[in-house]
Amino acid sequence: MELVVASGIGLLFAAGTYLLLRGRTFTVVIGLTMLAYGVNALLFAMGRLHTDMPPVLSLDLPAYADPLPQALVLTAIVIAFGMTAFVVVLILRSFLEVGSDHVDGSEPVDPGSPRSYPDGSPRPPIKSASRGAAGGRS
């Protein structure tokens, strides 16, 4: 069971990370949601795995699952929820403002074409040799 759980959490992290690294805000938010699932499960797992011993005191249980990570995960879930709610509105707002849902706020352009640097100053035209270095966005 431990391996099943561990690999399941690993799957959530892998998928979440991959989506996190995509170029569209919506996908990134989905990635963050997956990561939240993953990390909550991870935190929960730190109390080790127990079946049939929920930490609700009763006479017929010999032992209980570790309640502390559960409480932490609850807090983490709620916080992640608040964050997700916020970030969803943020990406929507950003899309409405800039007209693109690319994470960088503009549709990707040909790396060779001149744009400005992030500080607003003009960028010299890039020679074809250095296209690879400056490009790489999706």
């Binding site: 730190m46 309640p67 609850l74 608040g82 709610a85 969803v88 509105v89 929507l92 899309f95 007209g99």
Partner: protein, 963 residues
């Protein structure tokens, strides 16, 4: 105290000219003059004690832990310098009063000048090398302001920046050097350091410390190869040049060489580095000066050369040479300041400083000419002027110096003589090419002698030049003896201050220099031709190019990293986390776990399969966004089931209810976002991200597996043991949340509240600007069905609402003892309300819900917070819970707990936040629809539609529309 006052006065006094300028230029200059004069008088008042060999001290603790204290001391050396600075300062102030044009802001000039003066005095009086550093850097800063005073001139700005950068970098080197030096010597006090030469020179850090200190001295004193900044600083107004480059700024480096001479000199390293640099600078500076057509350029390079001379003398390392150095400092200050002021006068009166456009001025400006002759001849080392005396000393020292340590080694002497030749040549050029020769007709202005105020200051200096030359012992003897004595720190060597020492080698070298120098000047044109043949590095161009190159690299490098791509940033972040995690995990000792594993039921494998397939699908098909959301729903269900199976019912409940609200939020947002993602990641990027993601998955799997298979004990045993008796609940998770770790929960609901008001704030401006335009022009990007509020849903949710609220209350009330609690209850109630909103539309439901969600959040934060504060009344800490069991007739025994009140706060925050967020988000949709959505519960109520096909009639006929 008075010592500190000398330093402090110019700083404090700097406000005076800035204020007095309103009272006029004279008032301004007078104020400045008075400040300086006061300082000078205080200094002079210490003269007797200093000449008596006493060292006056002032100590004030500032930052003892670092060793940085306000320690000043005044010995002969410091007295000499402070005197020069203040005395020449007085002359400069006077001169500047007349030099500056009406449109020049004099108040600012005088203020800067005083600040600079204070910094200089600070350097020379400091008894703490860290304090000295402060003043040192201050001179860089204030000279930056002075040099850039005429900021409308490009030369002024660039010169100022160059001076700042070169001397500033030297200052940084000096910081390191001083810290090292202080470390070696065990003290940052100069008076201590100069007594510890043996310790210092034996230390392995001696060489680095020496190099770093010299880095500071050489840049400041414009020693080769850092000499290039000085001529560009000539863009400053002439009083500034005269001040900075005769007695002050550049002398700071020389001062420090002398100040630390007892501690650092005497080693081979010192000799070879310092003497060589000095000698080279002396020759190169003089050579260049010979070809400068700009008077100030000529003087500037001459300054470089003379500074080299002093450096050379200090570098030799013998007491006599050091004494000669000190003497030349005095002499140079007098004739060079006079010459600078003279050049300023020419510039002022003739309208140009270009030698090629000058000549014959002696006929027009006799007073100036006289002074120039005296000062320049002194500079050339012609007797009976003071320049001759110290140059003789220099040549004598040079002739006694062996470079290679051989018996007969004239290298140094020859080079020094060459330098002297050039020096004579350019000095004579200043006289001959500027003042002598025929009168010209093409001066840019009409040259004449300046007003008294302008020629008096240089005149004072010229008089000194002559007096020192004629009566060296009387005029300069005691000062020299005291100050040189302070440098050398031991018995003074034998020396004789007189014009005639007999037929010494120095005399022959001197005579040769004069003759050859004059000859060289007569062949000036040939020399120019000769010079043209050599490659001459254009210092400014080189400097500019390298600064621009550095800036260019900085830009390239910075923007290559900071390229604005979030994907790059996140790859760096995740990559770094992986690197940190993996590297540490693999490097640290560890062993696989040994605990037995739980059995795997087949259903768990099914669950795993569902999870794996969903993860795979979400990665592969994430471009279909709605489908992605469905998959997120699936994953949420599986994770919740997992929690349930693994004894975490509270988690399962929370996870599943949070998930649905999240999905609703995402759906609301997706309405406006593109419904699918374009294919855009290039393959290499996909591979990169795949590798990162894969490693993340493997790493997490590995570490979780490692944790799960080892034994464990945690503090939660306490929670289990005390939840009931101490927290009054049997659901330990809930007791932890509202009691043991109540503050976590308080923070958590605050997060929800913040999220909601952030959402409000974000969406509040949605109708403005580009966003507003986009919404106004928004077009539905998917096929729309015609019914908004289907009857079945409306009826169903109506039935459900009351029941759902009861469920909410149930989950809330039992939370302390069974899975549930305020948070889940809040979500359940929110979901119940959302159902109404979805079924009957926002406007209709909002009116009936009758809740201002802002207030709900506010109450939530307050209720939870005040519950916590309530425990103060009983002098218990914040959030201390209270509970008891009560028995009432009929009702029976029940529990009351403050945790319930806290949970009410949680509940309110959750409901308020969720609903506020949804309400604001859905509002955007309604705005964008442009449609006047009718506020009614269902699209059509069959009771309102008469029998028969009435729909063909006019719409207004229908009762619903008629309302």
């Amino acid at each position: 105290m008075q010592l500190a006052l000398i330093v402090l006065l110019p700083f404090v006094g700097a406000v005076l000219p800035a204020l007095m300028i309103r009272a006029g230029r004279n008032a301004c200059a007078t104020a400045t003059f008075t400040v300086t004069l006061t300082a000078f008088l205080i200094l002079l008042a210490h003269g007797p004690r200093v000449f008596a060999g006493e060292v006056v001290q002032y100590r004030l603790e500032w930052l003892p832990s670092l060793g940085l204290d306000v320690n000043f001391f005044l010995d002969g050396y410091g007295f000499l310098f402070a005197g020069l600075i203040l005395f020449i300062g007085l002359l400069i102030i006077t001169y500047a009063r007349f030099y500056l044009a009406k449109e020049d802001p004099m108040g600012r000039f005088m203020a800067f000048l005083l600040l600079f003066q204070g910094a200089m005095v600070g350097i020379v009086l400091s008894d703490n090398i860290l304090l000295l550093l402060i003043f040192w850097e201050l001179t860089s800063l204030t000279s930056f302001l002075l040099i850039g005073y005429w900021s409308h001139l490009p030369a002024g700005r660039q010169g100022a920046r160059m001076a700042l950068i070169v001397t500033g970098s030297g200052g940084l080197s000096l910081i390191a050097g001083m810290l090292l030096l202080g470390h070696i010597a065990g003290s940052y006090d100069i008076s201590v350091i100069i007594t510890r030469a043996e310790v210092i020179q034996a230390s392995p850090y001696y060489i680095p410390a020496l190099l770093l200190v010299l880095g500071g001295c050489f840049t400041k004193s414009a020693q080769f190869p850092f000499h290039f900044w000085l001529p560009h600083a000539m863009a400053a107004p002439t009083p500034v040049s005269a001040y900075l480059h005769s007695a002050t700024m550049v002398k700071a480096g020389i001062f420090l060489l002398g100040r630390l001479w007892p501690a650092l000199s005497g080693t081979d390293a010192w000799f070879y580095i310092v003497a060589t640099t000095g000698l080279a600078t002396m020759v190169i500076g003089a050579w260049i000066a010979l070809f400068k057509d700009d008077l100030k350029g000529l003087l500037a390079h001459s300054t470089v050369s003379h500074l080299g001379l002093v450096t050379f003398l200090f570098g030799i390392g013998t007491p006599f040479a050091a004494l000669a150095g000190v003497f030349h400092i005095i002499n140079h200050a007098t004739f060079k300041a006079a010459l600078f002021m003279n050049a300023g006068i020419i510039d002022h009166e003739a309208g140009t400083r270009d030698i090629k456009r000058l000549g014959g001025l002696v006929h027009l400006m006799p007073i100036s000419a006289t002074m120039a002759f005296v000062a320049a001849l002194s500079m050339a080392g012609i007797p009976p002027l003071n320049g001759f005396l110290s140059k003789e000393f220099m040549l004598e020292a040079a002739s006694e110096t062996a470079w290679f340590g051989l018996g007969f080694d004239p290298t140094v002497a020859i080079i020094a003589t060459i330098g002297a030749v050039f020096s004579v040549a350019y000095s004579l050029r200043y006289i001959i090419h500027v003042y002598l020769g025929p009168k010209r007709k093409d001066y840019p202005a009409k040259p004449h002698d300046p007003p008294f105020g302008m020629w008096a200051p240089p005149a004072v200096l010229v008089v000194l030049v002559v007096l020192i030359g004629l009566f060296p012992n009387t005029v300069a003897g005691p000062l020299l003896a005291t100050s040189a004595g302070a440098v050398i720190g031991a018995e003074l060597p034998y020396y004789s201050l007189s014009l005639w020492h007999g037929f010494t080698p120095a005399l022959f070298m001197s005579i040769f220099a004069v003759v050859a120098g004059y000859f060289l000047l007569t062949r000036h044109a040939d020399a120019i031709t000769l010079r043209e043949r050599f490659w001459r590095p254009e210092a400014k161009a080189l400097f500019d190019t390298s600064v621009e190159a550095v800036v260019g690299w900085a830009r390239t490098g910075t923007w290559a990293l900071q390229n604005g791509s979030l994907q790059r940033y996140l790859a760096a972040l995740t990559g770094m986390a992986l690197l940190g995690g993996f590297a540490t995990y693999l490097a640290a000792p560890g062993a696989p776990g040994t605990e037995p594993m739980l059995p795997v039921p087949a259903l768990a494998l099914v669950g795993w399969l569902l999870l794996a397939a969903s993860c795979a699908a979400i990665v592969l098909l994430h471009r279909q966004r709605l489908f992605t959301l469905v998959l997120v729903g699936v994953i949420g269900v599986i994770v919740s089931l997992g929690f349930l199976y693994l004894s975490a019912p509270d988690l399962a409940l929370t996870q599943i209810s949070v998930e649905v609200v999240t999905i609703i939020l995402l759906l609301l947002a997706l309405n406006f976002l593109p419904k699918s993602t374009p294919v855009e990641s290039p393959l290499p990027m996909k591979v990169r991200d795949g590798v990162i993601a894969g490693l993340a998955g493997i790493g997490v799997t590995g570490v979780v597996y490692a944790v799960l298979t080892r034994e464990f004990s945690s503090i939660s045993e306490f929670h289990l043991a005390n939840a009931y008796e101490g927290g009054g609940g049997t659901n330990v998770v809930n007791v932890i949340l509202v009691d043991f770790r109540g503050i976590d929960t308080y923070g958590e609901i605050i997060v929800l509240g913040i999220a909601a008001i952030c959402i409000v704030a974000l969406l509040d401006t949605v109708m403005q600007g580009a966003s507003g335009r986009r919404i106004a022009n928004w077009e539905v990007d998917m096929k729309r069905s015609a019914d908004r509020h289907p009857l079945l849903l409306v009826v169903g949710t109506r039935v459900m609402l009351a029941f759902a609220l009861v469920v909410g209350a149930y989950i809330f009330l039992r939370g302390h003892n069974e899975p549930g609690g305020g948070f889940i209850a809040g979500l359940v109630v929110s979901i119940a309300l959302i159902m109404q909103y979805m079924a009957s539309g926002f406007a209709w439901a909002q009116r009936r819900a009758g809740l201002d969600y802002h207030n709900v959040i506010g109450w939530g934060v307050l209720v939870a917070g005040l519950t916590g504060v309530g425990s103060w009344l009983f002098d218990y800490p914040f959030l201390t819970s209270w509970f008891d069991y009560f028995t009432l007739p009929i009702v029976g025994t029940f529990e009351l707990a403050s945790a319930i009140a806290f949970d009410v706060g949680v509940f309110l925050c959750v409901v308020g936040s969720v609903m506020l967020a949804l309400a604001r988000l859905s509002r955007v949709g309604r705005i964008a629809e442009h449609l006047d959505v009718p506020e009614r519960d269902m699209d059509v109520d069959p009771r309102d539609v008469p029998d028969g096909n009435v729909a063909a009639e006019a719409p207004s006929a229908s009762p619903a529309a008629a309302k």
